[in-house]
Symmetry: C2
C-alpha cells in the first residue's frame, strides 16, 4: 500500500479495481466496435523465428474448432519435421502437402524448383477455390513469390475470390508489398537473438 | 537468359546452379559450426500477433517427436480456446493447465489474480524441475512477470537449474531484459497491421 493511498484512505486494492474497471470498459468498447465477422488473410514475415510455427499453432486452433484445413509447405521437404509427423495424423480434417524438395540451394536446379513450386501452387489455388476449406496454410510461400516461382497476381486473384469465411495464412520472409496490402493481419517476426548464431543446432520440437 | 550470359556462353541455369552451390556451401559451413545440442529457452514478445500461436506450433512439433510436454496458460482462461480443445486430447503426452481466470481487467481483483498466478507458477516450477518434461510452454508468463505476480528471480533460477535437454518457451508482451538475456532465441513480434483495428472480430482458428 503506498503512503499516498493511505493518506487518502483509499487502499491499493481499490485503486487496482478502479484501474481494472477503466481498462475493462476500454477493451469492451473496442470489442464492441469490431463487428465484422469473416475469414482473414494473415501474413507472417521478417527474419525472426516463429513465422511457420505460428501458422501451425493457428492450424491447431482451427482443428480445435473442427475446421477442415489445408496445408501446403512450399520450400521445406527434403527432411521430415515434427509438424508434418504430427498433423498428418489428422487426415480426416487436414489435407497436408509437402511440395518442396528442400531449400533451393539444396536442389541447385532452377527448372526443377519451378516445376515443384508450380505443382504446389496448383494445390493451393484449388484449396482457396473450395469452400470446404475453412483454413489454408501456405507455408514459406513468400520465398516462392520472391523467386518468382509463383505468380503474385495469381495469388492476389485467388485470395480475392476465395470463400468469404475462409482463413488463409501465408508465411516466409520478404512478403511482397501487394500481399501486405491485401492482408488483414501482418506480423514482422524480428530477430532479437537466435540460438543458431550462438552455435546451437536446430532443435527437434523447436525448429524441426 | 541475359545477353551478358549469352555472350560468355554460360546459361542462366548454370549461373543459378553456381549461385545455389555457393549458398549451399555457406549454409553447410554455418550448420557445421552449430554443434551444441541442448534444450533452449525461447521467448516470444512484442505487441504483434503470433507469440502464443508460435508456442503452440512448437508444442505440435514436439508432439510430432513424441516429447512429453507441459503447458501453463497464465492469463487467459475465462473463455475456451481452440488450442485448449485441441491439445487436451493428447493427455498421454501433454499436461495442460489453464490457470488464469481471464485477463486481469476482467477479474478486477488483485488478490485473486496474485493467488491464481502463484498457483500457475507452482505448476510451472514443478515442470521445469522434472526431467520427464522435454518441452514446457509458459503462455503469457511475461504479463504475470510485468505485474509482479510471478517472481523474475524465481523464474531465472528455475530456468538455470532445469534439465539440460528441456526446452522452455515463454510468451507475452513486455519480456523483461533479464529474461531476454537468459534466453537462447528471442523474437519480437512486431505489428505491421491487425484485422481487429479494421473492425474485424477475433476469429476462431486465428485468435481463439
Amino acid at each position: 500500500m503506498s503512503r499516498g493511498s493511505e493518506r487518502l484512505g483509499v487502499s491499493e486494492d481499490e485503486h487496482y479495481r478502479e484501474r481494472a474497471q477503466r481498462k475493462k470498459e476500454l477493451v469492451d468498447r473496442r470489442i464492441a466496435r469490431a463487428t465484422i465477422d469473416r475469414g482473414v488473410i494473415v501474413v507472417n514475415t521478417g527474419n525472426g523465428k516463429g513465422k511457420s510455427s505460428s501458422g501451425f499453432g493457428m492450424l491447431a486452433r482451427s482443428l480445435g474448432h473442427g475446421f477442415r484445413c489445408g496445408v501446403v509447405q512450399f520450400i521445406k521437404g527434403s527432411f521430415s519435421t515434427g509438424e508434418e509427423a504430427f498433423f498428418r495424423r489428422f487426415d480426416d480434417l487436414v489435407e497436408y502437402h509437402v511440395m518442396g524438395e528442400g531449400y533451393t540451394w539444396e536442389t541447385q536446379d532452377r527448372g526443377r524448383d519451378i516445376v515443384t513450386a508450380g505443382a504446389a501452387w496448383d494445390i493451393a489455388a484449388r484449396m482457396m477455390s473450395d469452400e470446404q476449406f475453412d483454413f489454408v496454410l501456405l507455408d514459406e510461400l513468400n520465398i516462392a513469390l520472391a523467386k518468382e516461382y509463383v505468380s503474385l497476381d495469381a495469388l492476389l486473384a485467388s485470395l480475392a475470390a476465395r470463400p468469404p469465411r475462409q482463413h488463409v495464412v501465408i508465411t516466409g520472409r520478404g512478403a511482397p508489398d501487394a500481399l501486405v496490402e491485401a492482408a488483414d493481419t501482418v506480423t514482422e517476426m524480428r530477430v532479437v537473438k537466435h540460438a543458431f548464431k550462438a552455435g546451437i543446432k536446430a532443435q527437434h520440437g523447436i525448429e524441426l
